[in-house]
């Protein structure tokens, strides 16, 4: 082919233009349909997200069948804590008002690990105003017990100060400001 240099450059320029146009077209084709209806995201994503089955109930959903635990939990210091944090989700346990699966129940050492996930002084960013923390093993040493004790040997898991308040009442041992 005998083309002048200028013509060749023009062809290069035009192909660049075509390439850009093709890119824009491809971009248009690849975009999902509902993109940009409300903002820079797929509008259908909202409807899809709404269809995702709900895994968690609330504490109220547990109270219906677990009247005994409810009675303790509602009166204790842990009343604001979600049952499901410690036990697992409603969805794995109940379907259509009937029990369909067992939830894990922590025992012994596992209980200590569980409690320390929230109550460990090592987690610096926890304000004492919101949640009281303890340092281990000092906390056990302070109570003069073996360091192998688990938290639930003194604290009721569902109402952590239940026994302790009772013990204080029995011994008439009170502290100012408590």
């Amino acid at each position: 082919m005998k083309l002048s240099y200028r013509l060749r450059l023009l062809i290069v320029l035009i192909s660049l233009g075509v390439l850009t146009g093709g890119g824009l077209l491809l971009k248009h084709l690849l975009l999902p349909d509902s993109f940009g209806v409300y903002g820079p995201y797929r509008a259908n994503a909202i409807a899809e997200a709404a269809l995702v089955p709900i895994r968690h109930g609330t504490n109220a959903s547990c109270f219906k069948c677990h009247a005994y635990e409810a009675g303790i939990h509602k009166t204790g210091r842990h009343q604001t804590i979600s049952c499901e944090f410690c036990h697992g989700t409603y969805m794995d346990h109940v379907e259509n008002g009937r029990k369909i699966g067992t939830l894990p129940v922590k025992r012994e050492k596992q209980i200590t690990t569980l409690c320390l996930r929230c109550h460990n002084t090592e987690i610096k960013a926890r304000s004492e105003l919101v949640i009281k923390t303890v340092a281990m093993p000092n906390h056990l040493a302070d109570q003069n017990v073996k360091l192998t004790h688990n938290c639930n040997q003194c604290h009721h898991v569902h109402a952590p100060l239940k026994y302790i308040i009772r013990a204080k009442q029995m011994t008439r041992w009170t502290e100012a400001g408590r």
Binding site: M1, R6, R8, L9, L31, G39, P40, R117, K124, A125
Partner: protein
């Protein structure tokens, strides 16, 4: 949870939010501004010759274009390595929006890549036309493609080429400046990290980019010429060192002014930043970045500027000072990127960063990522000869 019970607790001081414990933007994100910076600085050298007619830079002009190209090819590599799902970066480019700073980078990157490639093609066209006739096979085909299959070297078309080069370099400068200024802007736009979120970020990044790029060019030129036994153009090195001195003074002044104005104003997070610079960063910022890698080069550059010295001596110190300044910029990127993340959003606690060897973003990965541009440069040198024949004299 081993962060709570395990060894990690030993490294943190004061209140560190659990999600601040880990430095998420690690060494790959240090390399990202470093590599784009090298591109930028190398491009400045080429621009000084092609647009501003600084004739003494002629021996380096073509080389710095190729250098910029080799590094530009790898500019996004660290980012992609940092991502868990690198292929999804294309989604971001498909759906750009003003709230996505990174998508903007993708587009600016693509444009600068295109412009640079065409500058190289037009600058090299006369050589490529000659090489086309002396080469065989696939290489010949490649040469035909990148010369647009034209042998036309008439004065008219060469003049046209020169115009095109001037135009491309002309738009190339703002694009290069935006490319790297944008990297600074991306960091400056992170409100959550006090040491980043300053409008000065793009400026500081830009000057240190020019600094690192020019140093890299000087060092690479001297080393490659020495190894291949060719002569070194003294005028050229002198001009480079002068330009380097200018950019270094600007970069260093801004780096320090930022710290001083914050500490004078005692602005917002100052108590926290002060603790950072004097605590976890004490050695990497004050000792390495400021004292060793800035004050020492400042003295060396001063001596080089004010005292006469022999050619060999001058070249030696030029190489040394460039190497130190390359390190300075790397450390500066480190102190900004990793240092900035060492303070918790609690505005009280500091954490620590421990580089790993074999991590996806570890030290080995850093070495590999930094080696790739040099391999690309080597491949490019097989296609585009670095040096023009008129400075091909070998040292005897």
């Amino acid at each position: 949870m081993d962060a709570v019970n395990g060894t990690a607790t030993m490294l943190i001081s004061n209140y560190v939010f659990p999600n601040d414990l880990h430095v998420h933007w690690s060494m790959m994100i240090v390399l990202y501004p470093y590599i784009t910076g090298l591109v930028d600085g190398a491009f400045i050298i080429a621009a000084l010759y092609y647009l501003f007619d600084i004739k003494s830079l002629k021996p380096l002009a073509r080389f710095s274009l190729l250098f910029a190209l080799a590094f530009l090819c790898c500019a996004t590599l660290p980012l992609l390595l940092h991502l868990g799902r690198p292929e999804r970066n294309l989604n971001m480019l498909l759906t750009p929006s003003p709230s996505s700073a990174m998508a903007g980078f993708g587009y600016i990157y693509a444009v600068s890549m295109g412009v640079l490639v065409f500058i190289v093609l037009f600058v090299y066209r006369p050589d490529l036309v000659v090489l086309r006739d002396t080469s065989k096979g696939l290489l010949k085909l490649l040469y035909r493609a990148i010369t647009f299959d034209s042998r036309d070297l008439s004065t008219y078309s060469l003049a046209l080429d020169r115009k095109i080069i001037r135009f491309l370099v002309g738009i190339g400068i703002p694009i290069a400046a935006v490319l790297h200024g944008y990297v600074g802007f991306i960091f400056g736009g992170v409100k959550a990290i006090p040491t980043w979120s300053t409008p000065l970020m793009p400026v500081i990044f830009l000057f240190s980019a020019c600094l690192s790029g020019i140093s890299a060019i000087i060092l690479a030129y001297i080393v490659i010429r020495k190894i291949t036994g060719r002569s070194i153009d003294s005028d050229c090195i002198k001009t480079c060192i002068k330009t380097l001195t200018l950019f270094f003074i600007l970069a260093f002044a801004f780096e320090m002014l930022e710290v001083f104005s914050h500490s004078y104003l005692k602005s917002g997070y100052h108590h926290m930043v002060e603790g950072l610079l004097n605590g976890p960063l004490a050695s990497s910022f004050w000792l390495w970045q400021v004292k060793i890698c800035s004050v020492i080069p400042l003295v060396i550059l001063g001596v080089m500027a004010f005292f006469r010295m022999g050619r060999a001596m001058y070249h030696f110190w030029a190489a040394v000072v460039s190497a130190i300044l390359l390190l300075q910029v790397l450390i500066m990127r480190w102190n900004v990127v990793i240092g900035g993340q060492l303070m918790s959003k609690s505005a009280r606690g500091y954490t620590e960063f421990h580089p790993q060897w074999f991590d996806k973003e570890g030290i080995l990965a850093v070495i590999i990522v930094m080696a790739i541009p040099f391999m690309i440069l080597f491949v490019l040198s097989r296609i585009f000869p670095f040096w023009t024949p008129d400075n091909e004299t070998t040292v005897t």
